[in-house]
Symmetry: C2
Subunit: 325 residues, 2 copies
């Protein structure tokens, strides 16, 4: 992987911690002029880094602003494979659309597409997804596991666990997972996951996981007001998006590895600790009609088991779930 000069600067300043690094030292290590160092610093400031410059001492990092640029995400990221390749956009139609294009162009495993805003964000069944600028997380992650297509369904559940845990750690609130792909706080949606495949008939080429999270929105337009919330509205404080993204990527990488080695069963317990349907009366709206009954739980393959009112057991692969409260 090629490291840019700016990434190298972040690395050097990070290594120095609270200490200063002189412009001279930076210029020497980067093999450039001090004027060039200064220019890079200006660019990093524009990307949201709070850089302190003190005469005769040099530079140090004070903190990062709330943008989700490449450097913001890389600075402090503890992954081995995920997001080593990042495509960042201020505005995009849909991060899923670009991720599919990158897959066609042969992008590596772990590629991340992230945008400050989506103008055509979408969820399951091509429903639109509200994605305003700078307040939420709108990203798509390309994984390239060597698996047959029928092994793909648990990826949605694995991503849901990674997002739920990361929210818990960074925002201090515990979201509920609504099978298969929504996260709720107080019954309102705060995040959604969209897992799509590109595949040969017998082999996955790429799992493209889209993750949308309402983070720092303070309000929602009318049709969404009653059904959507943000982490900020729920917790009463602003959440640093880059930090939340890093925790998600780290957990997703770890849980994908567990899945590839041991299957979904060991992750099921974790998933169940966030899930809200088991034992509840629900109606599953599927593409082939509605089924009402009692949610028993999910199988080791991630399929929802529903005991119908007729006493029959139904295996639900995908549906909109309505929980009777």
């Amino acid at each position: 992987m090629q490291i840019s000069t700016r990434e190298k600067i972040i690395e050097l300043l990070t290594e120095a911690g609270d200490g200063f690094v002189s412009g001279e030292t930076l210029a020497k290590k980067l093999n450039c002029s001090r004027a060039a160092v200064w220019k890079h610093m200006e660019e990093l400031r524009k990307e949201g880094f709070e850089l302190e410059a003190v005469r005769k001492k040099g530079y140090r990092i004070k903190g990062t602003g709330d943008k989700v640029t490449k450097n913001e995400i890389r600075y402090g990221l503890g992954t081995k494979r995920l997001a080593r390749n990042i495509h960042y956009r201020e505005t995009i139609d849909s991060t899923q659309r670009l991720a599919h294009q990158l897959v066609q162009e042969g992008c590596p495993d772990g590629t991340l597409v992230i945008a400050e805003q989506q103008t055509g964000g979408r969820g399951r069944l091509r429903r639109s997804w509200y994605s305003p600028k700078y307040t939420g997380i709108w990203m798509s992650i390309v994984l390239r596991p060597d698996l047959p297509p029928q092994m793909a369904p648990p990826f949605t559940l694995i991503a849901a666990v990674a997002v739920a845990q990361a929210i818990e750690e960074t925002a201090g609130i515990v979201p509920e997972i609504k099978w298969p792909n929504d996260l709720l706080i107080g019954g309102k949606k705060c995040a959604g996951i969209l897992t799509e495949l590109e595949a040969d008939t017998d082999r996955i080429q790429a799992v493209i996981t889209g993750i949308g999270i309402n983070v720092n929105e303070t309000d929602f337009p009318d049709p969404l007001k009653s059904i959507a919330t943000s982490l900020s509205l729920a917790s009463g404080k602003k959440v640093k998006r880059a930090l939340l993204i890093q925790r998600i990527l780290e957990k997703l990488e770890k849980y994908e590895e567990i899945y590839l080695q041991n299957g979904f069963a060991p992750l099921k317990i974790l998933w169940e600790s966030y899930a809200n349907v088991a034992g509840k009366k629900i109606t599953a709206h599927t593409l082939k009609g509605d089924i009402s009954g009692s949610a028993v739980g999910i199988t080791d393959d991630g399929v929802l088991q529903l005991e119908g009112e007729d006493g029959q057991m139904h295996a639900i692969y995908s549906a909109d779930i309505e929980i009777e409260r």
Copy 2:
């Protein structure tokens, strides 16, 4: 569907058969000037249509040249759903790549991408595919069946049958199908099929079937010479590409409908009549290693059954097959 003026002209001339249609009649029906009609005729000539213009009689179609433009393919096409939407390019990197992009943009079921030449044509496992200008058929068809991803494997076999039959009818030679995705004449490859998916985890969004056929090539570059042939080299005559394409599309549409209604079993017999492996000693080179033994046949799901030298039965989902002769 919107019909262009040029398509309307083709329709009117086709209806007239061997008869002439006057410029005046055309102008009236198309609601344009006779000069405009003449201009359209010139454009159609450039696309390869042989149009006869006789003073005081009008225009008629004599035949079409060997190009594979939209009009060439539509003129005489007997499909209901396939290729009602055609994307034609003189040169393209890969028709599969554009088809994937169109799927992301929401293109309809049956969309056809076709090019006179591919500069980055590819086969299974991203192997390159030689696709010179004007001599072969390089196309991708987007189907949007409502099926789970595990129902996708037979699409390769269905396409292979459609291509084999269409070759038999238009070139008068019977190719052999080499499981899973190659067509051979005299042991040399004349066509290949690449089936790819875009899908939600539980539902196919699109089956993208790439078909490459060596049609009128008179020679191949050195590394291919010993393993590739064309329909023209094998039959000793030129084959009209647009005609072959039409027959493929018609058969593919029919066989897809049979598959959706009755599964692969009724198509298996047809497939077997072209297949060359049953009963033969083969080695299957899979991504996980080689297996040698006797090919028993394929299952109703399109999986190759191989009786290993150890007497064990192996189910092969994908492989390069080497036949011992």
